[in-house]
Structures are given as C-alpha cells and as structure tokens.
Amino acid sequence: MKFSNLCGIFATLFVTTTMVLLASCSQDDDNYDSDMYTLAEMGTRLGGGGDPGGGTNPYPSKSEISNNPDVLAKMLKVWNQTIASAEAGVRCEFGFYIKYNQGVYTFGDVFSGEPAGHNEHAHITLPGTNDPAVCAVFHTHTSLINCDSTMERNVGPSRIDYRSNHASLMPCFVYDYQSGPIMGGQAPDSPGALYSYGQERRVVYSNN
C-alpha cells in the first residue's frame, strides 16, 4: 500500500472519530430529549415489567416508574386536580415526590404552586428533601382555559424544567397537554400526556 493511501485512510478515520465525539458531546450538552406517552399508550403500558437493569444503582429507571400502575394512577389524579382547579378559576401547578423502597412506590405530600393570575406564568417549587427513598419528582403544567386567547404555551417540559436541579439528579415527569402550543380559552377536554426528562435513574453519589 502506498504511503499516500495510508495517510488518506488515517485522515478519514481521524475526521470520522472527531465528528462522532463532537456529536455525542453536543447531545450531552443539550440533553433536551423528552419521551412522551399519550394516555392511550400509557394504557398499553400498564403492568409492564420495565428494565430491571441499573447495575448497583438501587433506584428504578424512568420506564420502571412510569410503567407502575400505582404511580400512573397518582399522576393522573393530580393532573385531573390541576384541570379542575383551573376550571374553578385557580390556575396553579401541583407536584409531589415519588419514593421507592424494595419494589414498593409511595408518594410524598402533594404541593401546589402559587395561584397564577390570568397573564402570569404558573410554577411550583417543591420543598427540598434529603429523603433517600425519593426516586423521582412529578409536577403538572396548567391549563389556559380561563386565560386571554392571546396567551400561548408550549407543552411538555420547559427549558427551565430541563435545567432544574431536580433534572440533574433524578428522573422527572410532567403531566401536560398532548399537543401544543395551547392557547388561552382552549377546549377543557384536550387530551393530556405524560412527559419525562432528567436523569434515567436517581444519581447515586459515593457518599450515599
């Protein structure tokens, strides 16, 4: 093989490797992928086994959590509470911690954010916790049923959700409308959907 051919092969390999590395870094930096399950899909997912993997990490994965019927039922109940509250004129987000211990899921108290005015952004900040049983965090986004028609919101996790401390530590779930953007005065019966973001499993540090 000629020396120039060898140089060509090495150059190609170098460029390809660099491109692959750059692409993977870019994905890590953005980390904006969100999995969405519609209610219909969730129905078929009920009772699913999930991935038992995770090595020495004792916490369940996103799919293990979202496949659990008790967890799903709790999320749906709080989503319905969010919609009912908005329809009654109190637009606020709700949220809670999901806990896991030896195959059993339990839930922290349900908190609500400050009621938002017609033109205001609704948000919720859950109180901090050191509870080692916490495996994930859940919150809802609000409806714009009683808002001005010029108000508009993208659905699913917001940029602020993606960049939250919770997202860097554990799986996060948000219940929101299935398709968007949604606008003020929307039909109240628009279907909802569960979105996930954040870590695949709760991060375990060496001092845990």
Binding site: H121, H123, H139, T150, S158, R159, I160, R163, M183, G185
Partner: protein, 149 residues
C-alpha cells in the same frame, strides 16, 4: 399646516414597528436572517423586556416549519399550513431565553414563547395592531429567577 402634517408623519413613524409585510421566501438568505433576528429582538423587547439584552445570542431553526393546531377556533385554523421561521434568542449569562415564530409569507410575528414556555400569540390580535395600541405592563412577561418549571 405643514408642521401639523410633519408631526403626524413623525408620530406614525414612531409607532410603526420593524415588522413590514414582506414575503420572506423571496428574500436573499442573508437579508432574511438579518430581518428575522432584528424583528425577533424587537418582539422580545416589547413583550418580555426582562428577557431583552443587546448581546443576545441568536439562532434560526434550520428548517422552515409548517403551522398546525388541533384548536378549532377560526382565528387559529386560518393559519394551518402557513410556513414560519423560529428564531431563538438566549442570554449567555443566565437561563433567560425566548423563541419568536415569524410567518414566512408576510414577515410578521406569529407568537413568542419565553423560557418557562408561556408567551403570546398574534392570531387574535396582530402584532402590528398591538404595538400601535400599546402593550400594557400586565401583558408583558417578567422573569422570575426563583421559578421552577
């Protein structure tokens, strides 16, 4: 009389926005991109002054999107099928960001969303009309550094 006419002309110029009716599909890419970024910054300044800075980092989504919505209201449905650009403006020093949707066929803003996803659309009230009538303080988005999603 002449001074009255000049005053009226000046007033009209002052309240007019950068948004002009023009077909962006016929514009040269460099000129179009300059227009999109300048208009997007103007929309942010008007509807989310907290999110505006002179050195905002701007990017334009590489493909033109096609508008679709399940909302059955006529003011929304009349836009289905229209093409639009998405301009993202980010503050390098914080988590503030905005995205402005701009129609391709007339170069006017369609909507704006801020980092927390909430924003305004211009389907029921055009951007130009809104600017002409004035944006009230409670119609603007404000940044809350402590707000989670």
């Amino acid at each position: 009389m002449k001074s009255v006419f000049l005053s009226v002309l000046l007033a009209v110029c002052c309240i007019s926005s950068y948004a002009q009716s023009q077909d962006l599909s016929t514009m040269k890419p460099a000129k179009r991109d300059t227009y999109l970024i300048k208009l997007a910054k103007e929309v942010v300044k008007n509807f989310g002054p907290d999110y505006y800075q002179k050195d905002l980092e701007s990017s334009i989504f590489p493909t033109v999107k096609v508008y679709n919505s399940n909302d059955k209201r006529s003011s929304i449905q009349k836009n289905v099928g229209r093409r639009y650009y998405v301009v993202t403006l980010e503050d390098k020093h914080s988590d503030k960001s905005s995205e402005v949707l701009i129609w391709e066929d007339n170069g006017e803003p369609a909507a704006i969303h801020f980092s927390h996803s909430l924003g305004r659309n211009f389907y029921f009230r055009s951007y130009k009309q809104w600017i002409k009538e004035g944006v009230k303080d409670d119609e603007k988005a404000y940044y809350d550094p402590n707000a989670d999603g």
